[in-house]
Symmetry: D2
Subunit: 284 residues, 4 copies
């Protein structure tokens, strides 16, 4: 298949936006494969994703951004441009529980995630073995209350040195400081093991068990400085009953966590997620 | 099919409970159709539901309760006994939105709910037409802040006079007072239009929209004096996206509400729900 | 909200289609609310749905079709044009089971289906009462093997006289002849009570029970001359267990049938379904 | 937790079965943790699963079977007895696709599957690396049309030598001969990558794509001599749309396959599946 360009746009709604954007592509010889668009009528916001074949496109890759800038300025657009053959680097942070880490590594190997896993970080040494078995660099940052600030700084440094464009928290059980979050805006995806906003905070399966819910969930979301309150990318649920102990909820929940997180990471890597306010538009 | 007796039991776990209960039935000539049992190992509680054919049972119906009392006392059991051919009376309370009321009435007529709808009550006159078209008595209790106490007292009186054993809040938008709740312990079922405990209180679909969730839900639960916090009987969910407006959530939610509420009422009417602490055991 | 025009397009894929279509709208002063597009890369087919506000659009409604014809011819497009304030007439055919008929009538009344139910037809007299209670014309066409051809001809005549643009088979248990199907191409929606293509033909719930499946389903599809093989619009499923008898499957299935059929009819009425080969594209 | 005995029973329905079985346990000092029972009223079959604590049970393990034999003979019971601390040996057969094999191995390691994976067999050498990385014996049996009979005989021999009580086909793409199936009656679990009975046979995702279904599925079932027609243990589904290519169906389906297969294997290992006719009773 040909390589493609993917353009993500948001701006105040106004007449002629679809025409202007599609005309930009067509006039320059591009063949549009996907044009997804959504207008938030309440807030008057135009949101779109355009993907076109690069083969016949007459503007060289490195100049597309500049060429589009004129339209963007005129229409007040924020935009993001990516290419389908770019393989972004990803850092995965994990703690003791290995299932999400293993799952992401297996999916990457199976070709489901177009990314290079550049680095695995953990506050526990055990994750190192898993990283090693996949041939992926591993950094161990044990964190105590006393050294959290320094360790986080070292983590940020390691992630940036590795060139990671996306940080995935694969059941990473440390709360990130605001400066960590700010270092990777809209580029940290977390999996929370509940159907948010139910059961914010610690031990959500225990909370769910205590409340006697009949469905449990998992939520993949971007991390913001407000705990468990960032824009939701995907959610998944499963039915439970009185026969399920807390351990059963934890076991059933692992599948939900793996699936919701993997789906969110995949959507992000394919430039199918547009964050907007505290919400996401998913162009799937 | 033969008529059956249904016995619901909870007591401290101890050796020999299944044998004692099943022996009571067998020794007296009963044929057990269903024996469902659950042991809460954490709390050491035994919970069971037994259903047996009455035809060959040698104890007359009206004496079964007394005959079982000995075992119950010895084992510290709480129990409830009902017969499959008993058709309990039900009162439905509704407000402006008719969908749950209509749905319950249609299901009752279709034979899904073994109950007599003895009374429809509403704080709005519109529900009267629906009740009338099904030939069901209707009482209109408009409620203002000033007369809420008297109106509620009149409602309780009307429900009790009608002989209703179950009160169903079919999108009834008034918060019940504690004295109302106490008049019908574990016998008021409400449908809350969210995936509890997310979005407690007013306008949950608006809350869900604002939070940008990817799944919405509905929760059928027993009403206790603590708002939206009673034992959950059933929950149902549906996927939503950025394309869904608040109105779309409300529309999609109606189906969830109808299904979760109808399922909960049906389970209750078949003596398949055992409340226990703030949870339910569903023998389905 | 302003009224809108909805244009559904399919044609061989080629460069510049999005631009040409959106330019047509913008150049004439229209504001595009939704632009949904899908390219079938395997078959090289371009499929799109465009919706724009009519208020500022400079081409009068009755001339839009002609004005677009030039582009359509040039690009080899098949297209369909509709307006959001057009309320199409619908005929519903039912047999003995009332649930889908009642459900559609209630949804129409609740504003979920922007349509006028112009006519209810049944081979059983019972449906007449339901139609009457909603104030909708009813025609009774009892069908025997001997008079099927004449009765069908009379049905077609009745549907056409009523001006119905869509025919909905709401658990209508007669197999339509080829001439009936041809009278309303891509305009007959049926609900089949199984997860097609499993359990084609008669008594699918009995078939499902005999096979011991753990999930049952319902399928809304366009009717073609090949039984149960038309383009699928929507499917819905529910979990079942060994505890469910055939009657339980039938009962649980009713909810699936209502929901899948209502969703399919709604999508059709909003011009969100594009049939293509033996498949559908759903612009939701 | 204490070790338990698990007794699975099926027999013609008759009075007093629950009492007889539970009395057998209680009289001998056992504490029943779970008593699950189902009566198939249509066929007049009684099916039950009883689990009790061994600690206080006065009959030694090795004599329980004999002691129960009297009741079994009298009531015409078929029964199966197992102990919770028995760790059965399992053989996994895989072909090229590794996801189900990896998934089972990871779940076993995570403690979800109480089993020893004694052997991995494949007709492709690649699976050997995976087995090796988990420290599990691997046998490579490449199969050609000419040597299929001998190779199968060797496989049976290998499985039996390894002491495997359960054979799991983890996307094993060879059709087993009747003699293979007969060597492990009701002890071979397969995952079929469709929602059976839809899309029997080869390339079900291609079939699903061609039919334009809106949901895809996976089915875990016992293998019988009739292809894809054995008793269904579990099924799982996911929603798809026109945007999904065959490759997308295959990718989405992998998660369904992993989950349905793992759940079925887990249920089997916990003696929660009772096969009966061509169906299963799942005591969950």
């Amino acid at each position: 298949m040909n390589h493609t360009a993917r353009l993500i746009i948001s701006c105040p709604d106004q007449r002629g936006l679809v025409a202007r954007v599609s005309d930009f592509v067509s006039r320059n010889g591009g063949n549009i494969l996907h044009f997804d668009q959504h207008t938030d009528l309440a807030d008057g916001v135009f949101l779109a994703r355009v993907e076109w074949e690069l083969e016949s496109f007459r503007i060289p890759r490195e100049r597309i951004r500049d060429c589009f800038q004129g339209i963007a300025l005129e229409c007040g657009m924020q935009f993001d441009l990516a290419f389908s053959d770019h393989v972004p680097k990803v850092a995965i942070l994990a703690s003791k529980l290995p299932h999400c880490l293993q799952d992401l590594l297996l999916r990457q190997r199976a070709g489901e995630l177009k990314a290079e896993i550049a680095l695995v970080i953990s506050n526990h040494a055990e994750a190192g073995k898993i990283a090693q078995s996949f041939g992926i660099p591993f950094r161990h940052f044990p964190i105590t209350r006393a050294d959290k600030t320094q360790q986080e700084a070292a983590e940020i440094e390691a992630i940036q040195s590795a060139g990671a464009e996306l940080v995935v928290l694969a059941r990473y059980m440390q709360i990130l400081s605001e400066s960590f979050v700010k270092a990777f805006p809209n580029r940290i995806i977390n999996i929370h093991h509940s159907f948010l906003p139910a059961f914010v905070g610690a031990q959500p399966y225990h909370q769910a068990f205590a409340r006697g819910v009949k469905l449990i969930g998992a939520t993949a979301h971007y991390v913001t400085s407000e705990l468990d309150n960032g824009p939701i990318i995907d959610q998944e649920i499963a039915r439970v009953s009185h026969r399920d102990s807390v351990d059963d909820l934890i076991r059933k929940g692992r599948d939900l966590e793996k699936i919701a997180l993997a789906r969110a990471v995949r959507l992000h890597l394919m430039q199918r997620v547009l964050t907007y306010g505290n919400k996401t538009v998913i162009f799937d």
